[in-house]
Symmetry: C2
Subunit: 192 residues, 2 copies
DNA sequence: CGAGGCCTTGACCGCGGTCAATGCCCGTGG
DNA sequence: CCACGGGCATTGACCGCGGTCAAGGCCTCG
């Protein structure tokens, strides 16, 4: 799929409420990125002016704690990367790295912000995205109240099966807050 | 402090950027509430049309899991209660109950929403509050990556000392995801 | 003064972390 | 084409953090 067709597909899928005028205003703020596995999108402490939509591929986000990588999320097709902190120009606490060769859509925030002032459609699009992200965060917080390793593993299996299929277990273990060995035993179906 | 003076104090403190016109638009949407300890503000599963600002007092929020109360947050002076889910009319997952005799400022959301359309000041006020809440959630999520009981207790001591002073230990324990007994031992300063 | 709520303290033990060895898969070079 | 090495997952042994159960102390309120 070529660059322009990817952008067109995005508008068809996610922004059907926009008028043609709004679409043409946003178009120059978009950019298709094709990057290889292991490419680092954002480094810890760095500020980036882009929000990314994953079109095809996968990414991981982690920070270092006592020299260990603690993973905070994984992104796949249709997931948005780095929305809030990038939008407000706050430095990232995490390093974001591609797990697979990926195609992404990059949104230049500095270009989009001025458009919001005079265009209620675009302003609402951004607000709605922010609200959706916030509800997602609340769900995630809920998820963290699960106490035992098995509870958390079962929840992952139910709500994010993709993660188990496409992400190395070592990363998933730190995401769940358990050791690689315990995750391995859970997968083996042992009754711990 | 009487009702109107509480509302005036609110505008002075939190909404200094608003013009007099905006203030007079919002004023009819506000209401001062004075309620006793143990009063239930919101029941699990209920939808409420209000967002509350705690002026004086304290509240707890919890849901039931296997018959136990799991606490998700505590609110004190200047804290906002129930913003996001109430704003979008989503039923509450939690029960919110006052821990002390409290004075609150209630915002009638149904009345405020129409004002946002034609008034950029009010719209921005709401958006900014939403964004602030989202950043707060991200910090909270970060906090949950602490693994041991001592780490979480130390973080609470550092970031929310008020909670330890004003909330029963039984509630705090479920908030930290540890047992009442373990919390008690941690406070006693034992090296667990 | 008795009852109930809340906190503390002790005893016990199981979940899950750490350490270590082994196996499997794959990319690279002889 | 096979050998070797490194990355990743599995499995076993051990043990400590923290949960559960139970008893006892202290304060408040009726």
């Amino acid at each position: 799929m070529e660059g322009n067709s990817i952008i067109d597909a995005y508008f068809n899928k996610h922004a059907s409420k926009l008028t043609d005028i709004s679409i043409e205003l946003i178009r120059p703020c978009l950019q298709v990125l094709e990057l290889p596995k292991k490419h680092v999108l954002v480094k810890e402490g760095q500020t980036t002016g882009y929000i990314y939509l994953m079109i095809k591929g996968a990414a991981r986000s982690y920070y270092l704690k006592n020299g260990k990588e603690i993973h905070t999320w994984f992104a796949f097709e249709d997931d948005v990367i780095g929305a809030l902190r990038n939008y407000y120009g706050i430095p990232s606490r995490e390093t974001i790295e591609l797990l697979e060769d990926s195609v992404m859509l990059g949104f230049n925030i500095q270009l989009i912000k001025p458009l919001m002032v005079g265009n209620a459609q675009i302003s609402n699009l951004v607000s709605a995205a922010l609200a959706e992200y916030t509800l997602y965060l609340e769900d995630k917080l809920y998820f963290t109240h699960l106490r035992t390793a098995r509870e958390r593993y079962d929840a992952l299996l139910k709500h994010e099966p993709k993660t188990l299929q496409r992400v190395p277990l070592t990363y998933i273990a730190s995401y769940l807050g358990i050791s690689r060995e315990t995750l391995s035993r859970l997968r083996a179906g042992q009754f711990l």
